[in-house]
């Protein structure tokens, strides 16, 4: 852990990190862009999840929703990772000791595993069944799991300033 702290301290001393931390506007603007990217990527992912669960857009074939929203979701995620990375640079030492931040990373990893499992196992196995009116249980479950995991990620993210850092 101490080597992690040492790395975080070095990260925080990089010129770009100092610039973000010291600017009055950089931090909130990057946070704002992070929020907008989130609403596009996770927002459209929520819509996909609700379709997987059979809650909305039931008359749209599932594969159409999955394929057509994908590039927008991935583009949104690119902007979240870039802005999230920049925010991390400016607060590396406090973030790595923040419980909400740690949980956030864990749940991002779980959500990623869930997405990969859906993409490469569940969707492959379901094949043409994806577009039938009756949604396979595994597909519904993957949708609900994704919705839950990403909601927890957002909750953890918003709680970062409210939960004290504990080394």
């Amino acid at each position: 852990m101490s080597s992690l702290i040492a790395i975080a301290e070095q990260i925080e001393q990089l010129p770009i990190s100092v610039a973000i931390a010291e600017s009055q506007y950089a931090f909130p603007i990057i946070e704002g862009v992070h929020l907008i990217g989130l609403s596009i990527a996770v927002g459209l992912l929520f819509i996909t999840d609700l379709r997987l669960a059979g809650v909305i857009l039931r008359r749209v074939p599932l594969t159409q929703v999955l394929h057509q929203l994908r590039p927008w979701i991935l583009g949104g995620f690119a902007s979240i990772f870039i802005t999230g990375g920049l925010l991390f640079l400016a607060e590396a030492t406090t973030l790595i000791e923040n419980p909400a931040f740690k949980f956030k990373l864990v749940f991002i990893a779980l959500a990623g595993i869930n997405a990969a499992y859906f993409e490469f196992v569940i969707a492959k196995k379901a094949g043409a069944e994806l577009d039938r009116p009756v949604i396979p249980a595994a597909v519904k479950f993957a949708g609900v799991a994704s919705l839950t995991l990403w909601t927890v990620v957002i909750v953890c993210g918003r709680l970062i300033p409210y939960l004290p850092s504990s080394p």
């Binding site: 909130p28 459209l44 909305i56 927008w72 957002i154 918003r158």
Partner: protein, 157 residues
């Protein structure tokens, strides 16, 4: 009764006391509901915008996509307004005189007007003209994204 008197009255109300005197996690909980609602609202808005611009789900009628998206939009709007009002009531004097808060509220009024006077009309015609479609989407997304940016500024100004 001046504005300051009204703000003081709100700040001294039982509901304001209930929130501001409670555990700080109650305030954090309101923030969480606020951001989740905002994401639900924007998710619906982004979907409808992409469909109006014919970038996604073109095989389905615009009215069908809008109808489903609206449920999510109103759920998100209710959650953000409900949590936002409680946050404001808990410390009105803190928010009212902040430039970022004033900007956010002006943008919110603009966004609601655009939503019902412009975007809804464009979405109601099955094949809006490309110009009307682009203008409506640009206006609406600018206002709502602006609200997000101004909202993030509140804590820093």
């Amino acid at each position: 009764m001046s504005t300051a008197d009204i703000l003081t009255a709100i700040q001294d109300s039982p509901i304001a006391h209930a929130i501001s005197k409670s555990n700080h996690l109650v305030a954090a909980g309101l923030q969480v509901v606020h951001v989740l609602g905002f994401i639900a609202l924007l998710a619906a808005l982004v979907l409808v915008s992409l469909r109006i611009l014919k970038l996604v789900l073109n095989q389905r009628p615009l009215s069908e996509v809008t109808r489903d998206a609206n449920r999510l939009f109103y759920l998100g709007l209710s959650l953000t307004v409900f949590s936002g009002v409680l946050m404001f009531v808990s410390s009105p004097k803190l928010y009212f005189y902040k430039y970022a808060f004033e900007l956010k509220m002006l943008l919110f009024i603009a966004a609601i007007v655009i939503q019902f006077a412009v975007l809804r009309r464009v979405a109601a015609s099955e094949n809006p003209s490309p110009f009307a479609a682009r203008a409506a989407v640009a206006l609406s997304l600018t206002a709502w994204f602006g609200i997000g940016l101004a909202g993030r500024m509140i804590g820093f100004t």
